[in-house]
Symmetry: C2
Subunit: 325 residues, 2 copies
Amino acid sequence: MTRAASQTFVALTGGVGGAKLALGLANLLGERLTVVVNTGDDFEHLGLYISPDVDTALYTLAGVVNPLTGWGRRDETWTFMQALQELGGPTWFKLGDSDLATHVDRTRRLRSGATPTSTCTHLAARLGVAARVLPMSDRPVRTVVDTEEGTLAFQKYFVREQCRPVAKAIRFDGASAAKPTPQVIEALSAPGLAGVIVCPSNPWLSIDPILAIPGMREAVRASGVPVVAVSPIIAGKAVKGPTVKIMRELGLTTDNRAIADHYAGLIDGIVIDGSDADAVGGLPLPVTVTNTLMRTLDDKIALARDCLAFCSRLSARTPAPERRR
Amino acid sequence: MTRAASQTFVALTGGVGGAKLALGLANLLGERLTVVVNTGDDFEHLGLYISPDVDTALYTLAGVVNPLTGWGRRDETWTFMQALQELGGPTWFKLGDSDLATHVDRTRRLRSGATPTSTCTHLAARLGVAARVLPMSDRPVRTVVDTEEGTLAFQKYFVREQCRPVAKAIRFDGASAAKPTPQVIEALSAPGLAGVIVCPSNPWLSIDPILAIPGMREAVRASGVPVVAVSPIIAGKAVKGPTVKIMRELGLTTDNRAIADHYAGLIDGIVIDGSDADAVGGLPLPVTVTNTLMRTLDDKIALARDCLAFCSRLSARTPAPERRR
């Protein structure tokens, strides 16, 4: 086995945007990839335990995600939702019929005492996902957004209110009592680990909940391997979602420098889009410039390959013993 | 308002067979009909509270029942079930996508503190059911079947095992601690009440759980109105389900006499099918002979009309003051 063939990588990700890069990485790495997924978006709805980012990661890696939305399942039917509406039930959170099976199965497993991690591992196996998909923690962390219209649980802010209220602060309830799972720690301390990739998810809403878990940031740093982030900002805009809106509301400039500053102390390098190439000089750390807009599977794989190469380059530059923190 | 137009009726019913007559009655009576439904079949499955006979009654009266099976909803899709199977979930109890909305909505309402009765009333209103549909009790009663292969919860006996194991006894766990709801008592003591109809459901599996509730049998008798049962037996056979099999296993003859004996002390008359007309002489109470096989809506309405006429005939025969028990 060559050295490269035994190298493992960890990706930190939120939902749709991050999962796209995870898919690219999974295509290159297969089971050598561990994806640590934000669970701050998790919530209970209709008596079901719903873990949106984990499901988006699973569906994306399994090739069953809805290609139009990036979440939910392809070839979905909506009979349940239509019947629920007839019965006067809440319909602001869309649950497709096949997607519902995931929530029902997860909920019954958790109620039977299974952990989120073992439940996710089961789902991944059934869906045929080769990469290891891990919830960031088995303990509940709930992202809440303090807005000018009051405090909103994440899904109410994100889905019901469509991110319309002005954000003042973002908190992660339960994070201080949470901890990374043994499986996450194991992945971050694996002997073959060659890099950690922070996917281009919303840093404030999707990656920060992961990093808010006591011990997580330390475990990433203690890995001693290059940590690179792919910026979710392209030419001052986010590909999807409220990243730029939130950055403005939090008083930040909406550029890659703000992303780099946000991850300062965690990352060793940042990947930015070619359209921002002229800003490289203003960035206080190593940069890879490439195409970060992932329209096709080839785009995803190409960006993943750039991330792996960046890790390799950073690793070669800094001898391993020195980099151990 | 004529006397007939203000008369109300109560029907006791289980699932498919009984619901057919309930539909006939509802066509004649509309909101003057109260249907008291067996909840001994209720169970929790996949974290959902499922009330099969109540749903069959609701779907049938709403005109949305699957006409091929008599249970579940028409124009159903099965995407959920297919996805659940892919995930390795239990699939022995079939849950259609629109049917699932009923279970999810009921479950969340019950978890929020609603009663089965108020939940059923809500569902009936949303489905456009004019008749009043009432669970027999708001307290849990669970039908269990002692078989030669051990004790089985009802749905495991009925659906998973397809009634194959030999029944030795049928019990109603929780019945002794249950009681009829105020709404059931109100319907049975309404001033306009003109009759109680025991639908042709399985007497042992579907009607007995209703009658096992302390105070239910007494409330039916205290109503002072004619009580008539439609026999589920036609020419020694049941139209559907394990009635005859169970009668044999319990050591009973499989005829209308056994049905009449079973309901002795409760009913004032029995409705039997024309194919059993020669057995009328052997029956120890007033009999109406008609077509009890309900293939079409017209069959259901005709049988319902016969039941109402039978009540009227019995009422005329026995002056009300004497009949008050």
